[in-house]
Structure formats: C-alpha cells, structure tokens
Subunit: 363 residues, 3 copies
Amino acid sequence: MDQFRIETIATTDPAWSDLAQHRALAAQLGSLADSTAGAVTRTGGASADGGGGGDVASGAVPTGSTVATLPAPRVVPTFRPDPLLHLDQPAWRTDIDRLAAAADTQIGDYAAYLAALRERRRAFVAAGGSATDHGHLSADTTPLPDDVAADVFARALAGAGVTAAEAAAFSGHMLFQMAAMSCEDGLTMQLHPGVLRNHDPERLAMFGPDKGYDIPVVTEYTNALRPVLEAFGHAENFRLIAFTVDEDAFSRELAPLAGVYPALRLGAPWWFLDEPDAMRRFREAATGTAGFSNLSGFVDDTRAFCSIPARHDLARRIDAGYLARLVVEHRLDLDEAVDTASDLAYRLPKQAYPTPADAPAGV
Amino acid sequence: MDQFRIETIATTDPAWSDLAQHRALAAQLGSLADSTAGAVTRTGGASADGGGGGDVASGAVPTGSTVATLPAPRVVPTFRPDPLLHLDQPAWRTDIDRLAAAADTQIGDYAAYLAALRERRRAFVAAGGSATDHGHLSADTTPLPDDVAADVFARALAGAGVTAAEAAAFSGHMLFQMAAMSCEDGLTMQLHPGVLRNHDPERLAMFGPDKGYDIPVVTEYTNALRPVLEAFGHAENFRLIAFTVDEDAFSRELAPLAGVYPALRLGAPWWFLDEPDAMRRFREAATGTAGFSNLSGFVDDTRAFCSIPARHDLARRIDAGYLARLVVEHRLDLDEAVDTASDLAYRLPKQAYPTPADAPAGV
Amino acid sequence: MDQFRIETIATTDPAWSDLAQHRALAAQLGSLADSTAGAVTRTGGASADGGGGGDVASGAVPTGSTVATLPAPRVVPTFRPDPLLHLDQPAWRTDIDRLAAAADTQIGDYAAYLAALRERRRAFVAAGGSATDHGHLSADTTPLPDDVAADVFARALAGAGVTAAEAAAFSGHMLFQMAAMSCEDGLTMQLHPGVLRNHDPERLAMFGPDKGYDIPVVTEYTNALRPVLEAFGHAENFRLIAFTVDEDAFSRELAPLAGVYPALRLGAPWWFLDEPDAMRRFREAATGTAGFSNLSGFVDDTRAFCSIPARHDLARRIDAGYLARLVVEHRLDLDEAVDTASDLAYRLPKQAYPTPADAPAGV
C-alpha cells in the first residue's frame, strides 16, 4: 500500500458480511491476496507510480507528494447485494437467512427484507463504505407496485415458485429500491450490467462460479435506466455509475444520458474493454457528448492486488495519449489537458465516491 | 445571410402551416432566430467562411466567388407532418383540425386525410420547398392494407381508442405513404429515426417538449426500410435521406443499403454524432461500402442561425482531414480529394435537395 | 495458380455435388472462372506477390521460396449444405432428392437424411475437403429433441406444412448436428450468419438469387453459439470459424467467446467489412481480447479468381500496418511482429483448415 501510494482501496463484500474479514484486512493492509469469495478490489485515486524514487511512470500522476506525507491508507467495504436480489439464484433462500442473521432480525416478509438491507447498508456506511456494486444481466430498473413485489417475494420465501420473468422483474425492481436507498444514505451506486455468467455449464461444474466463461450480451440503457433517472436523476445526493462491456452503447445511449442527468456518471472501461485500444475508443466515443466531468475517472477493478499500479499506469497513459491528441488538434490547451489528466486520474474518482464526513479514517 | 454566403436555407414547418411566417422570414431574411415552434433550420450548400476578407477558414470551401456574385439567398419551407402521423400524440385530434383548415377541406375519413396531406405538400412545393422531414421512433415503413389503415384512422378520429401497437403500425404505414407521395411531387424525404423523446417527464412538464432529454435507442434499418426500398428504391424521382444517431448501423445496415438502392442516401452525422470524432467515424465506417456519391454531403440542422458557419466549417475540416488521410495513404489522388471535398460541401447537398424547376426563386 | 503461388484453393460445392466438376477444375487448375453455381472460392495461405520476379508486394509475405519449389497446388471442395437445412427454401424438396441421388440412398425420414448428409461429408473428405460452409440468417445452434426434429422433417418431406418458426428452429438444430459431425470427421465448420438475402424481390426476379441486395442485420452470438460451444467448445477435433458482417459484435461477443473456447476462431473480415478501414477496425477491436492465435488469419472468399492476389495483398498490408503500430507503441517487438505477420498470412489459416492426412494430394 505504501509502495503504490494507495489512498483508498475498496473491497467488495456480500451484504450479509459481518465485515470482520474486512476489518482484518484493513488492519493488516498490504496483504489483500486472500480476499473474500467473489470479492473484487476497487481503487479510487490510487497512484500508479512505483513510489520510492522520483521516477514517475505516468505524466498524469500528480508529483511532489511523497510516501511519508500521504494520509494513512484506508480500506473500505463495498455493499454487494446481488445474490439477495435475484430470486432464482440457487442459494437465494440460504443467503436470505445469512442476511437475517447479519441484520439480527427475522425476514418473514418483503418489508423485513427491505429493512434488513437498509440496516446492512448502514453498517457498511459506518465501516467507511462509499458505494454499492450491482452485477445484473439487464440494466432494467423498472419498479413494481409494492404489493406485487411483496407477493413475488413472499412466494419466493415460501419456496412456492417464481417464474423466470417474475425473478427478472424483481431484480429490476430491487435496483430501483437500491437507488432510492442510495438517495437516503449517500452510497454511490455502481451498476455493471450485460454479462451472461457461466456460459459453459461444464466449466461451472468443474471450477465454480466467477471463474471465467462470462460473456457480454447486448445491453440496453435508454429505456432500462429511465425509471431510476426519472425518479432520482436530479437528486443532489444520488450518484449512479454505469459501467458497460457493450461499447456500442457509448455514443448512442450512455454519453447522451450522462450528458443530461446530473446523477449519472460513466464508469471506466471494464473487463474485456480494459485493454489499450478499447480504453482509447471509450474516450473517443463518450467524451464529445458526455464531456469529462460526467465520467467516473479511472477506477480499477481487480482481484490481483499487484496489478493495481500497472492498471492505473496504463489508464493514465491512454488518457494522456487522448489528451495529447486534443492538444495537437488545438481542441484543448496544454494546461487544460494537464488539469484534465489529474481530474481523470484523481479528482473525478474522489468526487464519484465521496466519503461520508463521519466515516472513521482507517475503518 | 450575405456574410455567411448562404445560398439556400430551409426552415421546418408543420404540415398545417399557412407559411405566412415562413414568407415573412423569407422577406426579411437575416433574422431567423424566432422561427416557428419546433422548427429547425437546415442549410444545404451553405458556405462556412466568414465572407468579407480573403481568409478562408476551410480548405474545402470553393474560393474565387464573392458575395456580390452570389445568387439571391432563398429561404424555403420543409414539410414536417410528424404530429399528424402519430395517432397517439396528445394533440393529434386538434392538429387534424388544423390540417383540415389549412387544406380548406373537411377530414372525415382516411381518404380525406391523405388528400389534405397531398394538398399541403403541393403548397410547400409551390413555396419552393424541396423536402419533407420525419422524426419517428422507429424507421419502420411497413404499409398496412388500405382498409386496415382506414379503420384505424376512423377509430382515432372518433376518439374510439387505438392501441399503442396500432398507432405505431399506422406511423410506419404513413411513412410508406409519404414515400409514395414523394415519388409524385419530388420532395426529398428525410428520415430521422431512433430518438426516444422527452425521456424525463418532469423536465417535459417544466419546459415543454423538444427541450432536451431526448435519448437515442437502437435503430434497425434493414427490415424497417425494406418496404419503401422494395417499392421505390429504384424510382428515378425518389430520394430518401436516412439520418441516424445509432452509429452502430453505419457499416452493418446503412452503407450496404445505400450501396445498392439508388434512391437512398446517407445523411450527415446529426445531433449527438455532430461532434468531431463521431463525424470522422461516420466517414470511416460508411465510405468504404457506400462510397461518396451515396451520401447527402454536409447538411446542417440547427435552431441557432449564428452556429451555421461554425458547423459547416467543422464539417469541412473533418472531411478534409479524412480525405487528406486517403491521399497520404495513396487511396485517392490529391485532385480527386479536392473534387470530393467540393462534392461533400456543395454539390452532393444540392443534388440531394433538387429545386423544382418551377419554384419561385426567392419564395 | 503458379503465378500467384497458390498452395490450396477451396471451391464451395452443394452437398449433393458429385464433385465431377470439382475434379475437372482440379485437373485443369488455373481456369476456375466458370465455377459451379453459387460457388465461392476460398484460399487459405495463398501468396499474394506476383511470383516471377523478386518484387514482393507485401512485407508480410514469406520470401525465399520460389515457384519451382512449391508443392503442387491443391484444389479441394467445401461442403455447403445450406439449401438442405432450410426447410422453407422453395427448392428444398427437389434438393433433398438430389441429396438422395448423390448419396445413392432413399431419404424417407430424418434418420436417412442425417445418414445421407454424413455420407456426402465422407465423400468431400475423400476428395480432400477440409471444411464446411454455412450461411444462416441467425447464428442460432439450439438443438431440438430428436423426436421433434424428426417430426418437423417428416412434415416438410410430406409437404404437410412447416411454420416459419419451425423452419428456423430446424436450421439451428441442423447447425448443431453439423458441429457434431465435424467432431467425427474433422471438417472445419465455417459459419457466416447475419445476412438478409434478396432484400429486393424485384431484383431477385430479374437476376436470380445471390446477385447482390443482401443486407446485414444485427447478429447475436453469445446465446446463439452457446449450445455448440457448451457441447463441443473444448473438443480437440473441432474447429468453428465464426465470420460476421456485424462489427458491433467484435469486442462484445466474438472476441470474448474466442478467448475462452479453444474450438472457436474468428474469421477474417468478410463481404462489406472486407475494405481497408473495416479490416483495421477488426484487428483493433478483436485482438486485445482474443489475441492473434484465436483468429483464422486471412482467408479470401471470392468468386473472381484474379482478385485473389489483390485481396491477400490488401489484407497483408492492413495487418502489417496494425502490427507496425504495435511496434511503434512498444507493445510488440519487431521480431514478434514479423512472426505474427507470417502467422496471420500463412500459418494460422493452415492451422484453421488442417488437411486430413489421408487426403489425396491433388484430389
């Protein structure tokens, strides 16, 4: 952590996590290799140069600060409720029991379920968390009428059968509820839709979930995000960061949406798009319409701690290359480009994931 | 108009417009800021340099002509029947009455409706108009059987209820009818599909329609345009210009379609794609298959009169940059590139919007 | 053949072809202009330089070999069963009779149909064939239960009516069967989906099928290829080469799929994408995720024999340009780029279309 000059690192934790493992991680720092199952690390504003010497790898890195003067690194949890929102997940019923135990409550109906989720979000905020993370197949955020949601939930809880369509609709409904709760507690909402998980069932049986064989699908945002953006797109306390692995949506849907709704920011290229040419295409497709200030800036998303500096370094080089082109084409002045480089590498991610004022500094 | 050396400017007017405001505009010229509600200005072949001095901003601008030798600028109307073709528009019934009044007729059935539209098109042609303009959510042009169309129309007229699916099908049917009428009267047909209007209903309530919050959606052309292209794609008197805000369709659908159907031309990048990088991507994605001669050339589409020279200047710079690349790569000779630059800036738009020989010169 | 230094050329032949014409072609070589109806020539590993002199047109061409030392050119057939797999093709019933005659059998039911197809594949293998070729509207490969497939087939055979949905489902089912047979006989499976044929029925009536007016449509691969990839994606003896004219699927679907399934390779840009800028976009969109070794390398697909060297030359120039960029950006060393150029031009196509050891050398 010192060597990489990382200010903040966020783990991703199940909603039912007691955050003990997270706290242990925060205590020991520097050895995050054995993170929780399904956990990804996200780093906002991490510095990618090697520290130590004065040899700064990327021109986009603010220099002049030294390891000694950095604030203490902070490790914060991220609230990931996915398995609880997808009624057709095999372990859903068990996971609900875990949620109930973590929230120290009984979950006998939909209202108790919402209350338990709200309670766990409070615990994550108290532990310094600044965001939630949502991996859905579709970006749909259409709310159901409360009584319909309550009925579907009750049937799922009773094991009385829920159709695939009902489960999908409930997932979208719960994204809407998560957005509503974000307006209350200030957690930045991260949405990573459009990946068909476990494409090869034989590999799934051999290695378990989240071991590759996840393949993107066409992802629609204009209609799918409309309910949340209509309701909260201008809410001052709401930030929705939309990631995508379908780059075809950059100029058609995501950039125009981010251009008008203050709450929406576009996430950095992710997963299959997290390679040099795709990162460059993102800048070129999104910036003309969305501008720089509607982007999240570079946020890494890795399970490999040691890859963090390389990923930030690469992102900064790509951004610097894009900005250099704008300077050469007289579309930006050099000083504006240097400022923007710092925005993309540092200031925008900090703004996108604000820290609650009352959060403990080191968890 | 003199300073910008604009040869022709087209306003967009409702089908029921008596064109009085248009004639006033044409008379006073030079002060178009207060155009009709919903009006956009389209300029074909406008010159983007500042006139006056000899300092030509864009290398693509034909030089040597001076303001003094330009023909008198012409201001022409464009026929926009959108609200009359969408049976589910809130003001549809009122707008039908406006159409009837403008056409000096009664609209009691589908046949009278078609006749009134045909009559208004004639009035636009007489006023020097060269085009129609159509903003539909889908590019669908599937005709309905006449009796089905007549029945749906009769129910809408009687306020007896039309389903959303029927309204959508009727809109597509009417695009086909508009194409058929264009074959008769020679008006170039402009289609701008694929924008979901008024994405945020709260903003709509605050500011009214067409004030932003319009977001593109996936737009299909291969099947949607097939009925019109089957019927009129080789008609000598028919020109269909397809615009898009879904650049994913450039190489897959639009360029191949424009490459085979003589009547189809690809419109210039528009709206969210009207920015430097997207304009360049359009050239690079469409030209290899469609060639230059199946493009409309640059046609501006603005409500801000003073933006016209800047927009033409930008378009010419992007085109010149693309052509320069082809020259450097030995794919075009320099003299061919210079010729093509003039085609894109001036000759192609003039061809795409031919003036009826009998149209009055200044309206 | 000598002048172009072509090692192998593959014609495309109907499944019922007795291959007599093919054998005649192979015997006479050098005069392929009058190939069979619907035939396309595919050339793997063809050399694009003009032979004769030492003037090598493309830097990617391995030099040092001379015409005299080349192995005898081989002309091999490619198995194209399309008309037999689409139950709603007008000539389907007639074509089934042709298949029965070619296989010297009776086709009275679904089992006999499969057996006849298997028998014809054996004949193609015996004639040196290395691949099958499939042009379907959709990439769907979902197998039907055997009894459902048998029932649909029986009704089609009896002329008793098959719905469009049943015909489409049967086509997908048969793609799965073709993949299964490829695992048995080792024929590389080529899939070219996503083209709506005969867009203009009037042109179809005037000139017949496959004379232009074929337009791409959105093509989905992630779900469509899943059944075949689940079943055979790791089979050692299976190679599926997926072509596309929907470049929007490159980074979203095709590259991620090719990255995980060893059996899948991405075909070279084809048809409307077989132009300089689209070829470059393919490299830039697919390579970051799929790498070079999951590509087929350049495979030409033309009906014009004399276009072969020009097409290979162009492909090699584009590849060399892309590789040069990677060298300049320090992403590849020069010697790696040179090696990769040979892979793309020669070694990868040879690997993608392996020759059965027992195939006769000159047919």
